[in-house]
Every structure is written in structure tokens, then in C-alpha cells.
């Protein structure tokens, strides 16, 4: 039975995206909004709005019981959690199951199976998906050397008791590992009270790649190609693209298979993403984690496959037998997304809430904007700072880069500080144009010169 009425348990651009996707499938929507969002664009376009709680997310967007109560009281038969907030809380999925509301996402069991890091690694291992080679806890520097000799250099030491860079020493040969091991162990001991170390393969040049999948819950999992999200600052993605042209075609095929195998093994249902670290020098990829939800950057996959993934999510949740076969999903051209944030790069990316006084968004062929902003709309200080996603599509990567550059030039936002100037600097940089960057590039190459240029 197709769903008839959906509760949208989210805000901002993704709430609006879900409202519109549902409407185009003939479904009604009820938006669960906080007080701060009762006048949002999504609230205007939804069939009904219920004010779920105060602006503070913990008493509104993070309360699963309020969401499910609102869904039942307004006669919804489905609930879409969007991304962030409650989207990967198995408790919400379980509550929906219990109350007979179709959760637009995986089962509670699946969310738990992939949500726990160790459980997810066990799954990956069982499915034959490679992880970063690493040792068990090590007794001595000699044990570390023996392990490193076996897997090859470079390697990195890691503290068994904690992270945050303490106890981490990168070693490129036997001697530096011997020297570094003692230093790292002392550092770990000081930081965590435990000097125990293990050693992992160090990926010199890493790209973040991920595979978009949708499962039918009965063991069939389709993939919609991969994305490259290496342009990050502090693990926050800023620019994403598809396909991941840095990977050889054969490697991409192996990547897709790994993602599909991993999730087919648990009869995964609805949209999900499997994230990998790609080692450029070795041409190998390692499993990182599964995101059991629709992701911010899903539009780039939509642009190259022509499939509306949010509509597909709603149809899968309604139990519709998918008419898709893998062979129906073809990749066409190249797409790039840039995240527009209400953050000020000149003030260490301080959030910059406020009211939009000017909003001139680019338009044209191959240009798409996913946003809930307009002139007069306010960016409340309570939530995430992303205000828009600018997505471009062209026949190939150079064409997409050019289109993105032009679109960013045209984009004008006033009333609050944004990262537009930084995005223009990224897209205009030779390394980006030529596709020569890794996950550390933005922080180590671009940002230092970007800040310097402003100061001079």
C-alpha cells in the first residue's frame, strides 16, 4: 500500500525536499516544526504544521515520542526522519514499528547493526570488505616493527585508550617506528593513563569515497554509484561530487560490490551510504562506516542517475516492489555540490545566524538549489548552519567545475556571513580544477593561504 500521509520529522532544506517529493507522489505531508520554524517555507508548503516543541532541539526535533504521537494524532501512515536529529536513532524506528507507522528508513535492527562501530566492522569483515590493516595491542617496539614489516610502510601508531591525535606517530621506516614508538607510548600514557599502542597502515593521500544504496528489505540492494567527498574541514564535508573520477573504473566496480554485499547481508531496507577511505597510492579502499539514512549530499547521485532518491525512499517505505534493476541505473555526466553555510571563514567559521536581506540564487541549465531560504527568512541560532546546497550537473567534470564556478559567482546573499568566498576560492584553485586533492587538502593547503590573503 502506498503511503498516504507522511510526518516530516525534520527542518530546513531537507524538510522542504521531503514535502515536495511526497506531494509529487500524491501524498500529504504534516510538518513537525519547532516554534522557531513555524513560519518556515516547509511549513508554508506542507499540508499541515504541528508545533512540536520549543526551539531547543532536545525538546522538539530530538524527541521521538513527540514525533510519533504527532504522526498518530494527525493520521500519518509514514514518518520521514530526514538526516541528523533522530534519523539514526533505532528508538524512533522501533517506536514507529510498534505503532504501525512506516518508518522511511531501515529497520531498528539494521540501524543498530550498522550504528555500532564494532558491530559494523564485524559485518564488513563477514562480507569480505577490507578495513584498514591494523595490529592488535602491542607489547613493544619490536612487535610494532614486525607488524609494519609485514604490512608495509608508512604506518601510524595509535593509543589503545583514546584518540584525538595523542599517541599518534607516523613512521615511514623501521628506524623512525622504533624511535617513535617510545615517544607515542609516553604521550598516550600521559594523556590517557595507559601507554598501550597498536599500529595501523597510514594512508598518505586519502580520498573519502562512499556508495549510495537503496535496499528493498528482502535482500536486494541496488547502488546508485559513488561520491567523492574529500573536500572537508574537520570531518565536515564542504564539496561533494559524483562520480569519483580519482578512482580507476575497475576499483569503482569493486567499491560498489563491497557496499552492496555488506548491506545485502542484513536485508537492508531503504536508503543508506557506505563510506570508505581510498588510498590513492595503493589503489585500495577501506571500510569506514555506514550511514543509515538519506545524506546531505544525495543530490549529486540523483543528478548523475536521474533518480529522485527521496521519492524512491517514500515508495520503498510504502512497500512498493521496486521496478528498478541494477542495469536500469546508468550514470550520466558529472555532478558537484557545494554546501553554503551561514558561517564566517574570516572568524574561524563562527556561526552567523540572522535574517536574509538579499538572496540572489543562480539559475540556468544544470543548476539546482536545495534550500528553504528566501529574502526575509531567518537562520535561527539553534540548529545546523547549512542554508543551501548548490548542485551543478554537466556532461563531464570540467564542464561541471565551470558551471559551479559561474554559479558561485552569481550567488549573492546578504544579511549574514557565509562561506561563499571560500567556496569560490576552492573551485577556482588549480588543485580542485585538476582533481588533485585529498581529505587534508582544504585544511593544510587552501585554508592557510586563504586566511593569509585576507590578512595581507
Amino acid at each position: 500500500m502506498p503511503l498516504r500521509r507522511i510526518l516530516v520529522a525534520n527542518r530546513g532544506e531537507i524538510a522542504l525536499r521531503i514535502v515536495r517529493a511526497a506531494r509529487s507522489l500524491g501524498m500529504e505531508t504534516v510538518l513537525a516544526a519547532s516554534v522557531a520554524d513555524r513560519d518556515s517555507v516547509a511549513a508554508r508548503e506542507a499540508d499541515r504544521v504541528v508545533v512540536i516543541g520549543p526551539a531547543a532541539a532536545r525538546a522538539s526535533y530530538l524527541d521521538a515520542r513527540l514525533m510519533v504521537h504527532a504522526a498518530k494524532a494527525t493520521g500519518c501512515d509514514g514518518l520521514h526522519p530526514g538526516y541528523g536529529f533522530l534519523s539514526e536513532r533505532s528508538s524512533l524506528a522501533a517506536l514507529c514499528e510498534q505503532e504501525g507507522i512506516a518508518f522511511v528508513g531501515p529497520s531498528a535492527t539494521s540501524i543498530e547493526a550498522v550504528g555500532d562501530k564494532l558491530a559494523a566492522r564485524r559485518l564488513a569483515k563477514a562480507a569480505g570488505v577490507m578495513m584498514t590493516p591494523g595490529s592488535a595491542k602491542l607489547e613493544s617496539a619490536e612487535d610494532a616493527v614486525a607488524f609494519a614489516d609485514a604490512i608495509g610502510y608508512p604506518v601510524v601508531t595509535k593509543a589503545s585508550a583514546g584518540g584525538g591525535g595523542r599517541g599518534m606517530v607516523v613512521a615511514r621506516d623501521t628506524r623512525s617506528l622504533r624511535d617513535g614508538f617510545a615517544r607515542a607510548s609516553i604521550e598516550a600514557k600521559e594523556a590517557f593513563g595507559d601507554g598501550t599502542l597498536f599500529v595501523e597502515r597510514y594512508v598518505e593521500r586519502a580520498r573519502h569515497v562512499e556508495v549510495q544504496v537503496v535496499g528493498d528489505g528482502a535482500g536486494r540492494v541496488l547502488h546508485f554509484g559513488e561520491r567523492d567527498c574529500s573536500m572537508q574541514r574537520r570531518y565536515q564535508k564542504m564539496v561533494e561530487e559524483a562520480p569519483a573520477v580519482a578512482l580507476p573504473v575497475a576499483t569503482r566496480a569493486r567499491l560498489h560490490k563491497a557496499a552492496v554485499d555488506l548491506l545485502a547481508a542484513i536485508n537492508y531496507r531503504n536508503a543508506g551510504t557506505v563510506e570508505f577511505l581510498y588510498d590513492v597510492d595503493r589503489d585500495e579502499f577501506y571500510f569506514m562506516e555506514v550511514n543509515a539514512r538519506i545524506q546531505v549530499e544525495h543530490p549529486v547521485s540523483e543528478m548523475i542517475t536521474g533518480v529522485d532518491l527521496v521519492q524512491l525512499q517514500l515508495r520503498v517505505a510504502g512497500g512498493e516492489a521496486s521496478s528498478f534493476r541494477q542495469s536500469d541505473i546508468a550514470v550520466d555526466g558529472h555532478a558537484i555540490e557545494a554546501r553554503i553555510l551561514a558561517e564566517d571563514p574570516d572568524r574561524n567559521f563562527a556561526p552567523s545566524p540572522g535574517r536574509i536581506t538579499q538572496w540572489l540564487a543562480p539559475r540556468g541549465e544544470g543548476v539546482r538549489i536545495d534550500t528553504a531560504m528566501e529574502v526575509g527568512a531567518s537562520v535561527p541560532p539553534f540548529y545546523d548552519s547549512m542554508i543551501a546546497k548548490l548542485i551543478v550537473h554537466a556532461a563531464d567534470r570540467p564542464g561541471a567545475v565551470a558551471r559551479l564556478r559561474d554559479a558561485l559567482e552569481q550567488f549573492q546573499i546578504s544579511g549574514l556571513a557565509t562561506n561563499l568566498r571560500l567556496l569560490r576560492a576552492i573551485v577556482g584553485h588549480r588543485d580542485f580544477i585538476e582533481g588533485r586533492f585529498d581529505t587534508r587538502w582544504l585544511e593544510t593547503v587552501l585554508l592557510p593561504s586563504f586566511v593569509e590573503r585576507r590578512d595581507s
Binding site: 516543541g53 504527532a70 535561527p380
Partner: protein, 161 residues
């Protein structure tokens, strides 16, 4: 009079929301902003319509994380001096402790600040709502067994009688 930007007010409200302060008063030129986490202050604020809240909400509707105290007037007309009791959270509104039982209160009834007025149910968890002010029940604004939203007006209380 200086125009205070909405973002400044939002920042103040946010600061207050995450703090452990009970109340905060800011006076700048013609603007007086009073925030409180004490539900009983609703009475005081509503009975002084020319003071803090009305001027604060008149500026640029800052989102109010603690709408108990800074709630903007909703779509109802509140006669001068009357106090509105609002829903502390979304849920189902029940006027009686159980089906068939007499309602907690009826129109014209005298109430104390501690008097229970209704129940709000969320997924079978019931929370009682008290008046917060002494007076007489003038109006009941929500329908029994129906969904009420966060901050929705439920009762009108006349504190002078």
C-alpha cells in the same frame, strides 16, 4: 530609539536558555526584555501587558526556546488582565483524569495556582498541567481528546476574580 537587531535578541535568548539562570532582564533604550524559566511568571507578565514581553515581541519575533515565559500572543484575543495557560508540550488534551470522570475544572470555577486543569498525554505518558495562577476559569480553549500543539492556549484565567 535604537532598533535592536533580531539576531541580538536571539543571542540573548539562547544565552539565557543554556544558562542556569532563573530570569534575565535587559533594558536598552526603549526595549525591555524579560526572560524567566518560572511558569508562574506567565501570570505576572500577562497581567502587565504594557511591560517587557509585549515590547520584545513587537520587535522582530525572536524564536523563543523558553516559550513558557516569552510566548508570543497566538491567534486568540486575550482580554486585558487575563492569563493564558498554554500547553507545555505537544500531546492529547484531556479535561478529565479518566473517561467518564468529571472534568478537572469547568467555566466559572475558582482555581489556585496548584489546581490541576487538565492532562496532556504523549504516547501514554500523562502530564498534568496546573493553573500557575489563582483566579477564575473564564474559557476553555482546547477540545477534549484532541491534539494540542506546544504552546497552544488551553485555558483563560481571570486572576482578579
Amino acid at each position: 530609539m535604537t532598533i535592536i537587531p533580531a539576531r541580538d535578541i536571539e543571542a540573548l535568548v539562547r544565552t539565557f536558555d543554556v544558562s542556569d539562570w532563573d530570569e534575565m532582564r535587559v533594558v536598552v533604550d526603549g526595549l525591555e526584555l524579560y526572560l524567566s524559566k518560572n511558569p508562574a511568571d506567565r501570570a505576572r507578565l500577562a497581567s502587565a501587558p504594557n511591560s517587557a514581553v509585549s515590547s520584545a515581541t513587537a520587535t522582530d519575533k525572536p524564536p523563543s526556546p523558553s516559550a513558557k515565559s516569552t510566548s508570543k500572543p497566538a491567534a486568540i484575543d486575550v482580554p486585558e488582565g487575563m492569563v493564558v495557560v498554554r500547553a507545555p508540550n505537544l500531546g492529547t488534551f484531556y479535561r478529565a483524569p479518566k473517561p467518564g470522570a468529571p472534568p478537572y475544572v469547568s467555566i466559572g470555577q475558582k482555581v489556585e495556582p496548584e489546581t490541576e486543569l487538565c492532562l496532556i498525554e504523549v504516547m501514554k505518558l500523562f502530564t498534568s498541567v496546573t493553573s500557575g495562577v489563582g483566579g477564575t476559569v473564564q474559557k476553555i480553549l482546547a477540545e477534549d481528546s484532541q491534539l494540542v500543539e506546544f504552546d497552544q492556549p488551553l485555558f483563560l484565567i481571570d486572576p482578579r476574580s
